[in-house]
Symmetry: C2
Subunit: 121 residues, 2 copies
Amino acid sequence: MTIKEVAEKFNMTNDTLRYYEKVGLIGPVKKNSSGIRDYSDNDLRRIEFIKCMRSAGLSIEILKKYVDLYAKGDSTKLERQHLLEEEQEKLEEKIKTMTDALDKLKYKIELYKTDKLDEYL
Amino acid sequence: MTIKEVAEKFNMTNDTLRYYEKVGLIGPVKKNSSGIRDYSDNDLRRIEFIKCMRSAGLSIEILKKYVDLYAKGDSTKLERQHLLEEEQEKLEEKIKTMTDALDKLKYKIELYKTDKLDEYL
DNA sequence: ATAGCATTTAGAGTCTAGTCTAAGTCAATA
DNA sequence: TATTGACTTAGACTAGACTCTAAATGCTAT
């Protein structure tokens, strides 16, 4: 699969795909005889995972750490698990923060709708 | 209330408070005879709101837009309401995205725990 | 075989949201 | 009175995550 096709499939840019490869999040992707990238199924699975985690706010740095641990093999399993568990916690907190903000936002919108707006801002 | 007290109360830095004022998110805050900021109760309520929305990911730009509309008075009520409703939608989508990612993360952790890890990454 | 578009690289530039620095003012304390 | 520490400003700097540019090369269609 070409970079363009992958970019379209996952709704990201060619630049971002090359960038992720440069920083070591994916690949190195195989290239054909004329130096053009040809993404494998496994590349695609990784990209999907990375994209999903990025969209949830996990940093490139932490994902890179995970990828590097994975590359080191089975001896890093427990460490990888702990890394993921930490990110899970952070993510849960973030979702809670956002849900609280959402509730406030809804409340404020309700004040607008019922014209009971007596607030600062 | 001094800038330091406000910063402590809301767990942010003096710099951020001055920055928010500079870009017009809050204030201008009253200053005493020697030029030192003295935050009013109303300032505090705004800061709390801004902080909450920022923590949910609303951009400075959009919050500035809202603040500016508010400053223009009652004629902008409906526009403000629509702005908030749009942000509500975006926020709901973001929470959904993050919840989906969280589920994947939990699933992967489960694979680690049960040692059924047969995955790419 | 020439045009025109896609791909490659290295490296520079951009955007957001702060964060830090320098130079100065002020009030309180030793 | 001298020093200390908090505050002020304007403006430079930073981090993170891309995004864009230039110059070279390759693929496809005419």
